[in-house]
């Protein structure tokens, strides 16, 4: 599903965010990217979402070499990827329902299908009673569930999450991780960047440890 070959990213004058990173993530896997701040977790996710371009090497996702995509192809690629960020990235002027259905609107789905699918996914994350609320009226956990619903609504083959529980208390964090586990159980590849060791242990999936932009250890699932 995901393969990085000699991937490197340099910011400014010689500040290495990623250095010669070779990594493979299979289809349907649930992988944690972990490591200290500045290890390169978020940079790797930004490269996977094509928010940035690598300075060396390449990223291949589902057979597509991302750096070779045109701007329009990047947009088409992003429609196959769901993303969840620590700061939720919700549109503050749109309701919960609109934030989620917006992705389907972009895809040009018929309005009835948009409504049905949006309601289903919001029900799945337990927010069917907050459809008309604005993001600012929701708690952090609820906002993150909206973000997850938005990431899921178009049934992407890959979900990328950058510190999705960074702003949440432990109980809500477990709740969000449970959602990711359920998403993965349906066959979606899930990549979560976090430095929360407790959470990683609790979920118990493969861990990729990054340090100074490189793999710090063999990428094995924890026992």
């Amino acid at each position: 599903m995901i393969e990085t070959r000699g991937l490197g990213k340099i910011y400014g004058r010689g500040l290495y965010a990623l250095r010669n990173l070779n990594l493979t993530i299979d289809k349907g896997e649930f992988v944690f990217l972990t490591g200290p701040s500045g290890a390169g977790k978020s940079t790797l996710l930004r490269l996977l979402l094509m928010q940035e371009k690598p300075t060396a090497g390449e990223v291949v996702v589902a057979g597509r070499t991302l750096s070779r995509l045109t701007r329009h192809e990047v947009q088409a690629y992003r429609r196959t990827v769901g993303f969840v960020f620590q700061d939720f990235k919700l549109i503050t002027t749109k309701t919960v329902f609109e934030n989620v259905s917006f992705t389907l609107h972009v895809l040009g789905l018929p309005i009835e299908q948009q409504r049905r699918r949006t309601y289903q996914v919001l029900k799945w994350v337990g927010l069917q009673h907050r459809l008309n609320s604005l993001p600012e009226e929701l708690s952090g956990g609820e906002q993150q569930r909206v973000a997850i619903a938005r990431a899921l609504v178009n049934e992407p083959s890959l979900i990328l999450a950058d510190e999705p529980t960074g702003n949440l208390d432990p109980e809500l964090s477990l709740e969000i991780m449970n959602l990711f586990r359920d998403i993965n159980a349906s066959g979606t590849t899930v990549v979560v960047a976090t430095h929360n060791r407790e959470l990683i242990k609790w979920v118990g999936r493969r861990v990729v440890q990054l340090e100074h932009g490189q793999l710090a250890s063999p990428t094995e699932p924890p026992t």
Partner: protein, 286 residues
Amino acid sequence: MSVVGYAFEEAWASIRRAGRSAAVSIGTIAIAFLTLGGFLLVSVNGQGVLDRWLESAEVSVYLDDHLADELRTVLEVYVRQQPAVASVEYVSKARALERFRADFPELLDVTTSVGPLPFPAVLEVRLRPEATGGANLDDLITALAGREGVADVRYDRRWLTRLMGIVATARIAAALIAGVLMLGAAFTVAAVVRLSLHARRNEVDIMQLVGAPFSYIRGPFIVEGLLLGGTGAAVALLAISAIYSGVSQWLPPEVQFLGVREGLIMLLGGVGVGAAAGTVASRSAI
């Protein structure tokens, strides 16, 4: 909702949010189009006047004071025989004085002080419409000027041609001024669209992340420019209409308001300038 419907809805919401800056933008574009509309109004009516003058342009053949009637008749026959000539009217010295008195009654004193018949007799030559201008006419005028008994030959068309040249130059100057003003209006619209982009940066980023097509992301900003430009032009058109209604009672009846063509030029111009500004602003940012 379609992509176009979405773009219009978002653009309208953005204009409402922008409030004062949107009003300033509409005002600026309205001033630019007020200038353009004024120029069109003057241009259309000026052209009408010029056309009428051109149609009635004639050659005036002034005769020597002591020209004998026989010679005058020969000359008149010669002129009538020319292919470019439609009609010839002889105006005697006495008739010329009558005309002057009728046209300028306030100058009666002047005519009495310069002698009994101060104006020369004249052959007023109307030309066929197809003959106005051109080398043949110049030849005719030269030939007439050289004939015995002819004191002078004046051709209206010459000064009308010069006037047309001045009007054409004035038109170019006015078009340049209107162009500069519209460029300024376009920059204002672009600035307002950039403000909207800045205000909705978060939303635009999210749209990009979910893979929205660029037409979908830029659409609202292009439509916002289009609406600002179109509204500005419509305001200008209304203002010109109001000004025209206010002063029309003092204008000659021949002065007409802008036609449908000129109105469409203004409205489509406003829409075009606004959409172009919105496109440039959104393309540079997204």
